[in-house]
């Protein structure tokens, strides 16, 4: 395996992006990530992005967003209709092949022009479920109900996850929901949105974007004093049909974590892309975390969830803490699909 590292990141997330296109959002982020390691687009061997045209209702918006990259002279480029973390996986594979030494990965989401909870209904099967238009929070609530009824988690535990997220998020300028003094009692007093899920159980919707520069081998060490080496990365998928899965489990998350080598050593922190507190409880169990690991020091996706970028932002948050020297080993997670259907795990190390 070729050593590949995250050498630069740039993120921006706000509750609602107005008067700014995705292109205008990404221009400074892409420029900032490249400039942080002294690269221009001509120095980038491969560019890969993740986004969905359904969010803003703009056909081929992902092609438009290439305007932010500077694709003249022509570049080697690809796109996935998935979270940017999966675009990062594609770039990592490209770097493994060995033909290029650097890659730019970016993703973005501007879901505010539409209704995200309805848009997400369209990721369900098109014959039996999507025509019923179940809102995303209702689908997640079915999973949360099963989790609570199975005894694998309690309402207090879920509220505790929400509180921890909001407290950690107070130090994150990109968080869109944070609090220094919210309590478990406060969360439990909230009226449910989709019973048993309360507002604080659901990730705070956001608009935003993230750009990451990857580099391989000596190039990474040349560009960055302390690269965040990707020591394991894997993604796995569970069945699409919700009815055939045990929704209290996420075997694909456990397998991805195992294949990425998550359990090989102590983890200083994990950044989890959990769209609900109940899903975070499932992920903590599937990945096999104990109390010595800090969960979501940024607040995680609960504190601000830009669809299509929340996973890449988790990798960026984990990588920043390694390059910044405050962590030696971290795990970043990304999910896609309903109820944790697809899961990607990336293990990053500073040495």
């Amino acid at each position: 395996m070729r050593e590949v590292a995250v050498v630069a990141t740039a993120s921006r997330q706000v509750p609602v992006l107005t008067g700014t296109t995705e292109v205008q959002l990404m221009v400074p982020l892409i420029e900032s990530a490249r400039a942080a390691v002294g690269l221009t687009q001509e120095d980038i061997g491969f560019t890969c992005s993740g986004s969905s045209d359904f969010l803003a209702g703009q056909a081929f918006s992902f092609v438009h967003t290439l305007d932010a990259v500077g694709a003249v002279p022509p570049i080697s480029e690809s796109h996935v209709e998935m979270d940017g973390a999966f675009a990062l996986y594609e770039a990592w594979v490209k770097l493994q092949i060995g033909e290029v030494d650097t890659a730019l990965v970016y993703s973005y989401g501007k879901s505010s022009p539409g209704s995200l909870r309805d848009v997400l209904a369209l990721q369900l099967d098109p014959y039996y479920l999507a025509p019923l238009w179940p809102p995303a929070d209702a689908v997640a609530a079915l999973q949360a109900r099963l989790l609570l009824e199975s005894g694998a988690a309690s309402p207090e535990e879920l509220a505790g996850i929400a509180v921890r997220s909001q407290h950690h998020a107070a130090a994150n300028p990109n968080a869109v929901r944070s609090s220094t003094d919210v309590t478990v009692g406060d969360v439990l007093a909230e009226a449910p949105v989709a019973d048993p899920l309360r507002p604080s159980d659901l990730a705070a919707e956001a608009d935003g974007g993230c750009a990451v520069v990857l580099a391989a081998g000596d190039r990474a060490s040349d560009l960055c004093e302390r690269p965040a080496w990707i020591r394991g990365i894997d993604h796995r998928i569970d069945a699409h049909a919700l009815g055939v899965r045990d929704l209290t489990r996420a075997p694909s998350a456990a397998l991805a974590a195992s294949r990425a080598g998550a359990g090989g050593d102590r983890l200083d922190l994990v950044e989890l892309h959990s769209p609900t507190t109940s899903q975070e409880a499932i992920l903590v169990r599937e990945i096999g975390l104990d109390d010595t690991t800090v969960v979501n020091p940024s607040g995680g996706a609960l504190a601000g969830c830009t669809l299509m970028a929340a996973g890449l932002m988790r990798i960026a948050e984990a990588a920043d803490r390694i390059t910044g020297g405050t962590a030696d080993r971290a795990l970043a997670h990304a999910t896609s699909g309903p109820c944790l259907q697809q899961n990607l795990v990336c293990v990053l190390e500073g040495a």
Binding site: T18, G19, T20, T21, V23, Q24, V27, P28, I30, E31, Q41, F54, A56, G57, Q58, L66, D67, A68, V69, G70, A71, V72, P113, G114, S115, D118, V119, L122, P126, Y127, A130, P131
Partner: protein
């Protein structure tokens, strides 16, 4: 579902309650999503300017190229643009095609009609417009045109304010300098008849 043998996977047997029932031939699942779209500041400015019969572009800080419609970015370099430029409503045909098929919902379009890539004077790129006011077989690359606007009391914040483009009768832009080459010509600082190498600049 089929009750007939499917040639390999075994026979599918319907429960008695479904025997004799008309087969499902198709399923209709209407999908509708609503969006409250707000154009960018650059697009808003562009559309507002149309109310006053003005056409706005953005100038690139890299090399001065003027893009229309403005999108707040120079797409070649990924560089933000904010410098607004007012463009004249005159230019030339950079390219065109003659269409003989109607567009659904556009009964006002007489067939055949000419869609053209209009390169405004001072713009680095063209944008789409209709050419009328001459026979379709007179339209040519390099032909000088001007905008024909809607009457003042019908103007709105929309590019539809320009009904079409009509010939000015001025001498043509030479074909070798028409279209995007008009910008390259300016970049190279060359006059008419300059050598062809400049087109590769």
């Amino acid at each position: 579902m089929s009750a007939e043998p499917d040639g390999g996977a075994g026979e599918v047997r319907l429960p008695p309650s479904l025997e004799g029932v008309e087969r499902v031939q198709s399923v209709r699942t209407p999908i509708r999503l609503e969006y409250d779209y707000r154009p960018s500041a650059a697009a808003e400015s562009y559309l507002r300017a149309y109310e006053d019969r003005r056409i706005i572009g953005h100038r690139s800080p890299v090399d001065g190229a003027v893009f229309i419609p403005p999108r707040g970015v120079d797409p070649r370099h990924g560089t933000a643009t904010t410098d607004e430029v007012e463009l004249p409503d005159t230019g030339h045909v950079g390219n065109f095609c003659v269409t003989h098929l109607p567009i659904p919902g556009r009964k006002d379009l007489e067939l055949p009609y000419v869609s053209a890539w209009i390169h405004l004077d001072g713009a680095a790129v063209g944008f789409l417009g209709l050419v009328r006011g001459c026979a379709t077989d007179e339209v040519r690359i390099g032909m000088r045109v001007r905008a024909v606007w809607k009457p003042d009391d019908e103007l709105g914040a929309t590019a539809e304010n320009i009904l079409h483009w009509e010939p000015t009768g001025e001498p043509d832009v030479p074909v070798e300098w028409a279209g995007n080459r008009a910008f390259l010509r300016g970049q190279a600082g060359l006059e008419d008849g300059a050598d062809d190498e400049a087109t590769d600049a």
